[in-house]
Symmetry: none
Subunit: 198 residues, 4 copies
């Protein structure tokens, strides 16, 4: 009895309506009324659940990140040993399952706040992996770790964004992971086609 059945139904309807409509017309162009109409809910009811549409989006994103975290937790341990690519694989699969939501978050809709939430979450995982590696493998980063982390997350997010926006049958997740792993192990110089530097 933790939560009224009606409440659960109403919230679900609002969340779904939000995602649909942002895909169709973009977050800024939406009014609260648009959302409530699509969800078939009174406008006042919206406000009894969320302060404004930003909060709704934030909650939706938070739920998504919680879900992602559930999927990631079992595999980050392993990856801390070396470069397995398992976390990225999980993330790609999650993105495949929740494609629309990933799209709108990664597009920076909603003033980029949800994207920032996402990026921060990735950065947190990245930091965790880094710490794990340093401890287990007794290695020291050779370039500023902050910069390294930023570069990594930026790369990941950019690729992810590109992947979820592909409309034609997209490249399989496993192949993306393979490429990213190659890129991480050998660098862009090699990836571009040059041979190992002198």
């Amino acid at each position: 009895m933790a939560e009224d059945r009606r409440v659960r139904k109403t919230r679900k309807a609002l969340r779904d309506a939000l995602v649909e409509l942002v895909i169709e017309r973009g977050f800024t162009a939406l009014s609260v009324e648009d959302i409530t109409q699509r969800a078939d809910v009174g406008r006042a009811t919206f406000y009894s659940h969320f302060r404004d549409k930003d909060e709704l989006f934030a909650r939706v994103t938070a739920d998504l990140l919680a879900e992602l975290d559930d999927r990631l937790r079992p595999v980050v341990q392993d990856s801390a040993v070396g470069f397995t690519g398992k976390p990225i694989l999980q993330m790609l699969r999650h993105a495949r399952d929740e494609r629309d939501l990933y799209r709108i978050v990664l597009r920076g809709e909603g003033d980029g706040k949800p994207l920032r939430m996402f990026t921060d979450a990735c950065a947190r995982v990245a930091a965790q992996e880094f710490r794990g590696r340093s401890e287990r493998n007794a290695v020291e980063p050779r370039i500023d770790p902050e910069l390294l982390a930023r570069a990594w997350v930026g790369e990941q997010v950019a690729v992810l964004q590109w992947w979820v926006e592909q409309d034609a049958p997209p490249m399989p997740a496993e192949e993306v992971v393979r490429m990213l792993l190659d890129l991480a192990l050998r660098g862009r110089y090699w990836a571009t086609g040059f041979d190992t530097p002198a």
Copy 2:
């Protein structure tokens, strides 16, 4: 008759006001009235120059990109030969000079449209460099070029964003370039502290 002196002054005032205010309170929170008040200009006058605040921001961004392009053109040729890091260096210097504007663009203010303009411009330059290398050095990319480009630009933008948001005396541009070059040549595996892969 190129442009009335009054017009030039008004536009300048509006552009500056926009940047200041976005830094202070964020793009979405601004009203046209806020901008015109800060610029000490009538609201009607604003509308005789720009359709809305999005257009103003777009123009400001376009001007910035044109300036960046001027600085980049002389050096992209050289970098097409190998990995010189010169274009990134120029960009960092430009960002140092126009710090506030870079910040708000990279934060994704204004619905991320300016950021998309910026990213696209970077992608265009990247594509140019790629083409140049393929032709001059007779090399073939070893991973999907689209993915490679996305990853690269994502990395660049993420690092740039981090760099312009630093408040303490930031790391010198030359050092950032050195690190990025190392990262590109040897990969993240090496950068993390591991030795060359098996």
Copy 3:
């Protein structure tokens, strides 16, 4: 089984709350919630007894008028003979006993509907007295009877309203009656201080 004890209690609480609150803040400014809170009753309960706050007020007023009628019936017969002032005296005493309710009714609270109910009741009594006089004393009104009735009731209500709004120890009811009687018998010309007209 005339009426559940709980029901009686609830209605009483609502009526009292209404009167108190209208005195404090005025009818229009009240919400149903205000009333139910003061009465310590659930909002839904209110609606199971009254359609809305207007109906509650109407019922309260109707009860008051029924009570007034009970007090008036024994004395209107006598007054039909001449001008005894007994009905007005009874009304003033009733108003003294139910001061707050009289105040809010006479102020025209609730869109003036209760006041109209009150005025109509007075007019009915007045008509009754008139009819009685015409029959018993064989007199004919010297001015339009409709106008005469309106003037009379208007005078009564205005004086009553003034009397119940006095906060200091008000003029005794008997004295008010005496004055009104003088006024009725001799007219305002005399009351103002002039001597009998030419």
Copy 4:
């Protein structure tokens, strides 16, 4: 240039719309939107002129009272000498010209506030006449002057209210005045048909 032509037009339209609609459906039943639609004016425009519909009604009433005052001022002086009935005559004529407005004010629409304004204005004039008489004719009121004033104004307002609500060709103003004068000079006892008291 004291006042923008557009402003004058807008206000006029709102005032007229108010009166029309109150006659049709009553003040309480009106929404601001109803008024602005009838006036063919934007709802926001309404709020740039009046705080709410009560203020609009108050202004309309105030204007009416100012007009009435203009008509009354020349004649109250004369009436201070004796009982000429001229002020009442003027008021009746004014009521004939502005019938709808008088109706809604006298009905107590708008929480009775406009009616109170009207009553107060009458009381002010009455007090003025009283003072004039006391001074010029060296007479002293024979009953409490406060009560006398209330009774008088109440009578006036009641008769006025009845008169403006008549739909059939109403009794001529002059005749009403004659009757009220008779009533004032000789009292209700006489008017009812009885002969002068012993």
